[in-house]
Symmetry: C2
Subunit: 340 residues, 2 copies
DNA sequence: TAATAGAATGTAAAGCTTTACATTTAGCGC
DNA sequence: GCGCTAAATGTAAAGCTTTACATTCTATTA
């Protein structure tokens, strides 16, 4: 298409050197007022825009932040990206987005791509953080902030949710309400986040001196159908329970539907709580209880932390665990005498 | 961090010129086998990676595709981005993502940013396509594909859903089932997509010779609460209707909850259909009827089209309207005699 | 053996900016 | 009017690659 005008053409038209034009454009040095005016006029007339590639080459920075995400399904990650974008936008950075689909090999490829593209920093959202990831990160010439995983042990900066803490807190609320036989619908057994939540659940029981029954613990895949199935499995065991904690809203909704289909009254007979607060929580007529935490803030904080690291010479360890709120709604009530 | 090695250092070590190294690295010219081997060895030893910035400067292309999206809430857009990513990934392009938050001014800013960043093409997802957008696009030196809006009139290439068609089709299904008093819960009045769906609804009625009653048409904001409110408004009018078409799943779920709360039996008394098929459709015990269309495909097709445009010299108009499927599930049944 | 085609390799320009350093200009005090 | 300082401007290198064109081989054919 139409040929771009470059700095030397502007300089020629203005009868000055390119250095002076550069100084005017970037306001990076003393220029006589009359010269400045003249150059600005030419810039405007010609619509001159510097070639960012050349500039980046000279400056050795791209004002680009890379982001590696396993996938985008689920509303959480999108919100996080919005949060990231908000920060980058107001700091003149742009976002290079990639989906890794979770495999280690693919993640390695994406780290290399971002390195090649010379991004100035990387936000890395992974399902589970491995030793190999640490190696990848250490090889990079730019800072990396991990999102959604607690990488304290690895010494890698991160922003994450307090999975164990809020799972424990929510379970404790149920215990406070008199529940002692509580079932847990967990996530995939190899998911770090799901296991952290499960741990919180177990800790709450243990702290209260309640024995943890394996019969009350199941694992699913986060989906509604899976919640339904796992709930059914537990129901079949015919052991009495008065509350269910689900690792996320999908499983909670599945459980809710399953209970209702089996004529178990919620919340009169069984309370249901999802460790989540997505749009699904609002979908059922019976308002689902859950834990609220902001993915938007997650992204926001991660981007903030990254920019900070990018500005400092040394990438020192830093961490941020986000706050949460437990919302008890219609799906939870105090334990009443259980009618068998 | 550690200094990168550049092509001339590799050349020096190998005792050849940089041109030869470039030829080996890019496999872009004849090189004697022994020389090639030697250079490849040095490349491996030194871990040489070309400076992409310099390369892009020389090649005048960035292998970058920009994407402007109003926002990322809702699962649709994320899926679309995944689809885009899938195509770009396998074609060695990367994605520069920006959220415009919908304002025209912001969109203009983002177009400029992408132009500055010298992306090779742009995918533009907007809520409503205006004359100004066309101007912005025509000024750009790279092709643009619009996503989610039918821009046939403007002559701008696009990939979109057949809003009017599937809304009409779904409504016709209801009519075939004997429904004649059908309510419509629409989206925001300034949303092009929402209005296209409304038009399809109206066309179906008109084609069947059914008068369109304003009392049966409401507008909301896509959310569950809004669907609930609008449904209530219509219920209050005390006119008999036997089916409801909602502009999306959120409104449909809201309507469903509202009807049930008012002791209206679904589907026995009123059928409910959402012009959507998100995760929400699976959340209720009563399986919601709807229209299925794939956002992932939307992104996929948009990216494909863009790449094609990028490869051809002239950017000729092209369009793609995606297929859809109407799924009648539990929430819809044939009209039976209406008990008053 | 010389000519010649074709392969292999090298040279240098083009792509465009930033910036350290060099040079020139202007202004001020004496 | 001279000298000095500070401001204004210019020069050229550095950042690194690709590639058109030039040159130098190598091998084949006459």
């Amino acid at each position: 298409m139409r040929k771009d005008i470059n700095i030397s053409e502007v300089a020629k038209k203005a009868g000055v050197s390119i250095a002076t034009v550069s100084r005017v454009f970037n306001n990076s040095g003393p220029v006589k007022e009359s010269t400045r005016k003249a150059i600005q006029k030419i810039i405007e007339e010609t619509g001159y825009l510097p070639n960012v590639l050349a500039r980046e080459l000279a400056e050795k920075r791209t004002n680009l932040v890379g982001m590696i995400v396993h996938n985008l399904s689920g509303e959480g990650m999108s919100r996080a990206i919005e949060g990231v974008n908000r920060v980058l936008d107001s700091n003149s950075y742009s976002l290079l987005m990639t989906c890794s689909n979770g495999s280690l090999e693919s993640e390695r490829k994406h780290f290399e791509l971002l390195r090649l593209k010379r991004v100035d920093g990387i936000i890395f959202a992974t399902r589970s953080f491995k030793e190999e990831h640490k190696d990848m990160i250490e090889k990079l010439p730019v800072p990396v902030v991990v999102m959604l995983q607690n990488t304290e042990n690895a010494g890698v900066p991160f922003v994450a949710f307090a999975n164990t803490a809020f799972a424990k807190g929510a379970t404790q609320k149920l215990i406070e309400l008199g529940h002692r036989e509580v079932a847990f619908l967990g996530g995939p057994e190899d998911s770090v986040n799901a296991n952290e939540r499960k741990r919180g659940f177990i800790e709450a029981l243990e702290d209260a001196g309640i024995a943890v029954e394996e019969d009350f613990i199941c694992h699913g895949n986060y989906h509604i159908e899976s919640g339904y199935e796992q709930m059914k499995t537990i129901l079949k065991r015919k052991k009495i329970f008065t509350a269910v904690v689900a690792v996320n809203d999908g499983m909670a909704i599945g459980a809710l539907n399953c209970l209702q289909d089996h004529d178990v009254k919620v919340p009169e007979e069984v309370s249901v709580l999802g460790l989540d607060d997505t749009v699904l929580a609002k979908a059922s007529r019976l308002k689902l209880s859950g834990v609220h935490y902001s993915y938007n803030d997650l992204g926001f904080e991660a981007a903030q932390m990254l920019l900070k690291q990018m500005q400092s010479e040394v990438y020192d360890f830093e961490k941020k665990v986000l706050p949460y709120e437990i919302h008890l709604r219609e799906s939870v009530q105090a334990r009443t005498h259980y009618k068998n």
